[in-house]
């Protein structure tokens, strides 16, 4: 009893005091002093963030962290990745354990306001879908009444599925598990008929199942899942850095600046390119960085389109088409404000 009391007290003391220093000192300064960016990522979703067998992380969400590290340190390797489950991620950010959360996290109002976080942008427009075994012969989510559905705890997914079935006047049986591997194992063992998640994650996880071809993703997309990086509230400068690094990558695609040609592009006569790459004006100052901040970010991971194709697009096993994630001028939603 005593030990429970003391641990409880310790937890509260910790909560009370750890939040203090985080606010007292700017995150940028803290990151610089540490010599490393600490980035919260997924425990393993191919294409978004996954470690290879040597422990090197890659993915769209990982690239964003590397780009931020490059903008600050001119070195994309100065990142420590902290794998987090859906349930752990917000506490990790709120308590200061990580500097950025870049982990296929949906931007919602409550997370952006009363959870002490702010979203810095959207690096992937997604929506929730359903995956089923082909053998069930299901063609549409509307046929799913009475089905058992596997879902990971601590996600928007858990809430959307409840809303959707209530709206459709259908019933379902939830099976809610903490970690992804066990959730998938339960689905694979037939514990549920359906695995539901953001569509991109369905494509990624399908590849990890015994025979991917046996499973199909149903056509219905039942929610809006704008995924993006989040930072703690109350440090505007830090939020600006993450937001503008993302914008820089998107703008780079628009101006056809690539990882390969970025050095040459420094001599471009296009004023927009010049401002982005720091050969004109000093936009780095506004975010507390050197003027080559965006150059370093692009040099590290390429422009948004390159990062997309390499990680989740045609250059990857996922083969996801750009769709909503194409640039606005190509009919997509990716649109970055101008640097000026």
């Amino acid at each position: 009893m005593k030990s429970i009391l003391t641990t409880g007290l310790a937890a509260i003391v910790l909560a009370a005091v750890t939040a203090g220093p985080v606010l007292a000192q700017g995150t940028l300064q803290k990151v610089k002093d540490r010599g490393q960016l600490v980035c919260g990522v997924n425990t393993g979703i191919a294409g978004f963030s996954a470690p290879d067998d040597k422990g090197n992380w890659s993915g769209l969400d990982v690239d964003l962290c590397r780009a931020v590290a490059a903008a600050i340190f001119k070195d994309p390797a100065k990142v420590k990745f902290v794998p987090l489950t859906a349930k752990e991620r917000f506490t990790a950010l709120q308590s200061g354990e990580i500097d950025v959360l870049s982990r296929n996290t949906t931007w919602t109002m409550s997370r952006d306001t009363s959870a002490g976080m702010n979203f810095a942008g959207i690096n992937y427009y997604d929506g929730q879908g359903f995956m089923v075994n082909k053998a069930l012969g299901v063609k549409s989510a509307k046929e799913l009444s009475g089905a058992s559905i596997c879902v990971q705890t601590g996600t928007t997914t858990e809430l959307n599925v409840a809303d959707y079935f209530r709206q459709q006047g259908m019933t379902y049986k939830p099976v809610v598990i903490e970690k992804l591997p066990e959730t998938l194992a339960a689905y694979n063992a037939g514990r549920c008929d359906v695995f539901t998640s953001d569509a991109s994650q369905l494509y990624a996880t399908r590849l990890t199942l015994g025979s991917p071809a046996d499973h199909i993703v149903l056509p219905e997309v039942i929610s809006k899942e704008p995924l993006g990086p989040a930072v703690r509230q109350g440090d505007a400068q830090w939020g600006n850095i993450v937001r503008w690094v993302l914008f820089a990558l998107i703008n780079a695609e628009e101006f056809a600046i690539t990882q390969e040609n970025v050095d040459k592009m420094k001599d471009s006569t296009n004023p927009e390119v010049k401002r982005l790459l720091g050969s004109e004006g000093d936009f780095g100052k506004g975010v507390g960085l050197d003027s080559d901040w965006a150059y370093q970010a692009i040099k590290a991971v390429g422009n948004y389109g390159e990062s997309f194709e390499r990680n989740v697009g045609q250059g990857s096993r996922l083969k996801i088409s750009r769709g909503q994630n194409a640039l606005w001028r190509d009919g997509g939603l990716q649109y970055a404000p101008p640097i000026r």
Partner: protein, 406 residues
Amino acid sequence: MVKMHTARDGARHTVPARPRRGLRDLAYDPTTRGIVLQVLLVLALLALGAEIVSNALTNLEKQNIASGFGFLERTAGFDISQTLIDYANTSSYGRAFWVGLLNTLLVAGLGILISTVIGFVIGMARLSSNWLIARLAGVYVEILRNIPPLLMLFAIYFAVLKSLPLPRDSLTLPLSSYLNVRGLTIPKPIWLDGIGIVVAALVASVIAALALKGWAARRRAATGHGFPAVGIGLALVAAAPAIAWVMTGFPVAFDMPQMGRFNVTGGLTLLPEFVALLVGLSLYTAAFIAEIVRAGIAGVAKGQKEAAAALGLSRRQAMRLVVVPQAMRIIIPPLTNQYLNLTKNSSLAVAIGYPDLVHVFAGTVLNQTSQAIEVIAITMAVYLLLSVVTSLLMNWFNARMALVER
């Protein structure tokens, strides 16, 4: 120590011979000093506590993290797979808390029962004179004590899932029950009007049977005449509710399980997550209980057994009447610890998707509301309360055993 005692006594009874004490004496008086120091300490702790709370509140506000307990009334919005009380995704977070708590109580309560039974059997088996039985019991204890409980839960859960058929190949059991990878579904009784009378008849007959047994015991003590109280009592307990049952016209209906497109619908389903957790916790804790039981029995002086034998008691009788009652005194205190461990280990539920308090409340609710401090504080308070209540019950039981036995 000694000094304090005399001083305390001196302070309590005003001894006339003693001269009046000045302020200085008071300052050196250990009792006064003790009180002053304690008051100061409590004040300091309170101040620290207040500082922590206000600091936490300021920090939360600065970080714009919601605080307070208002969230308990907001709509939960998520579904729960096993609910012992009515719950829908339109219910409140507060309701979800109760659902989680009841699920924890269910698995912990049953787990305590089952682990105790298995633990006693294995513990006694370890002391068996049969070499094979003793060895097997020893192997059980050594293996189960050394597996991390989480691993064991995974092993059991996935073993259960792998060994059961898919819904479309469900095993059909008697009484329209079905067994498949989604669980065991049996007809669900729905109580109709009149069931109250049956329950009342049951309760009344149990009370009557107990009273009868008491009366028979007193009569036997006074007169030496026996009376078949147990037989008559059992007959009473069986007959009274049965008669009420017939007279009220069988006040029960059944919600029968039926094969649906994806799942068995209707009926009452025992989820594989629940079974895996219950079995895992019970087997794991039983290994520890077995050791406690073995130690308790081994701890009873050898002379007791010999004396029992000298009195002509059989080995079985000696065990039941002489050894075990004395061993209980040694067994109960550490047993309490195991019960508390089992209750706390039940929070591993989240790993295999059983919706206990930690899964539902300290998991989903915390995540959706971001109110970590409040949610964790409530959860800790609940576990603390459960621990205190378990300890109190076990202490009471211990005291009873000790008294009866001496």
